[in-house]
């Protein structure tokens, strides 16, 4: 159990990351898509923690903390953008935003 912790964390991280990717690809609601990216970040975070355990130092967790910060920044920015888009269109369907193509 103790021995397996890093690997478990890594697997969980990978799963989270995968779920985030799949969510990003499949959900049409922009907020959900945005949340999916957040899940991807969390997956990375989990992975980092696992790696840190594997390597036995704090570097991984240090990077993890910065990831949290960045995720927060992205969250703020993302929500602002979502609000802007919603104001313009009145919908959050990602498919609505494809006027430019080709």
């Amino acid at each position: 159990m103790e021995m397996a912790a890093p690997q478990v964390l890594m697997i969980v991280g990978a799963l989270l990351f995968g779920i985030g990717v799949i969510g990003f690809l499949t959900r049409r609601n922009m907020i959900v898509m945005f949340l999916s990216t957040e899940i991807m970040f969390q997956g990375v975070l989990t992975n980092l923690v696992g790696m840190g355990l594997l390597r036995g130092d704090l570097n991984g967790q240090a990077l993890g903390i910065f990831v949290l910060v960045i995720a927060a920044v992205e969250a703020g920015l993302g929500l602002a953008i979502v609000v802007m888009l919603y104001r313009r269109r009145g919908t959050l369907d990602a498919d609505g935003w494809r006027t430019m193509r080709g």
Binding site: F17, F24, M30, M40, N59, F66, G78, R101
Partner: protein, 552 residues
Amino acid sequence: MLALVPMIELLLPEIVLLTGATVILLTGVSKTLSRSATLLAMLAIFGALIATYRHNNQELLATAAASVEALNPGFFANYVRMIVLAVGLLIVFANRHVPEEGERAEFVALTLYSLAGVMLVALANNLILLFLALELVSVPTYILIGLSRRDIEAQEATAKYFFLGAFAAAITLYGFSFLYGATGHLRLFGADSISAWFIDGGSTALANDGMFLLGVLLSIGGLAFKLAAAPFHFYVADVYQGAAATVTGMLGFVPKFAGMVAAIHIVGLTQWNLSGPVFWGLWVLAAATMTVGNTLAFMQYNVKRMLAYSSVAHSGYMLMALLIGPGQDGSGSAMRNGLAAILFYMAVYGIANLGAFCTLAWFRKPGRDDAYQSAELLEDLSGTGRTHRWAALALALCVLALMGFPLTGGFLGKLYIFGSVFASIGDQPQHATALVVLVAIGALNAAVGAAYYLRIIASCYWDAPRDGRVAPTPCSALQAVWVVCGMLVPVLFFFPGTLARNAVSAAHDSQMKVAAGNAELVARADETAGAVDIEKPTARSATPLKSARASD
């Protein structure tokens, strides 16, 4: 805490720039004060330039760098800084007319943040710092796109750029986590670093470490988004089209430069000792990027989209050189240097690209939501060769430079890239055919590129002018930018020396860094085991993986 002073010393340009940006941001509270935003930005940039110039003092750097592990100062960083600041100055000027009256301060400040981000990317010697710097580059650009125009396209562009950017950032970061996980280090070069781990390992098991490779590949994949390399290029056209032309000019340069510098760091971790699959992976990436970019651009009649896809193609060319790396030369004379080619190319490309977009912005036409928007379609440009001949000439020159035509700096850029690829054949004889084929693909792509670039020139010069279709933007700063770009393009052909020399020493510097790390390792290896017999730190034949692959 002792490290703090050297840290300040080393980061002085960035600090100046960021302080400037923050001050400008603060001036935004008052309308009167925000008028001086450009001036302040200029001051900040000049300040940063002066600070950078100071850093050319090697001794100063050496003493300071010794105590700060997270930074990687040197000519490489200085070169990046100088190019970024110089082009940044132009960008700031070019964008003078874009934001609305009240938002100029924010706009300028965000630009400066982004520039500072690129500089930090070059400086970073630590995954954390690298990642933060990359985010510092991209986050302001998300906002800039949204700020630059009010219409729906800009918003769509913002959304796409942001969402996909976050997506890609997550991928990059995932890659970083594996890099860390595989090696146990966050430091990139030097003692106790990832690259040291790589060399130290020196054995098949380590070099072939799946986790390490995964880390490299995921990182590069994420960075490929910034580079707009295929298949991460999808967003490019939409975003470039949506943003205001001058912001597009910036988007073509700033994030790409950051991505390229980061990619140089990441690939540099492997000492350019690319194992077969990685080599082929990058090979395919470069070939696909060139081809995809050019063929898609070939289909466009919207100049902005065309240039967007062409920027994809340019990434492809640069990836060619990235494949080569700094070349290998035990004497360290850094001949046939792919990195130098990239650095040179990037500068020329940035200028030409910015110039082209600035002329597009200068030819404005009535827009949908805005009062005006930049010229976009080919037909908007028709006859401008007669009505606005200097602007059209500048556009033509910039486009020719992008085409890589002789008598423009673009030609030298292509020359250096293709040349470095050829030069590296000697280093990698097993890849000789692949490299020659890659150059041939590049050459054919350049021909395809010529076809669509010519369309721009043709519509400027061949078609009859249409009355009232476009009118010049009354912004002398913008005009000044395209004048400067138009002049720099041929100047860079005839007088490439300074830039080229600096690019070479920058590349040389980054290689030295690697070599320095290696030297330490060699020393250590001698001390401890004494069994690892590496005469030249970067001798490739010493790597069994390589020879194993070659024998396949």
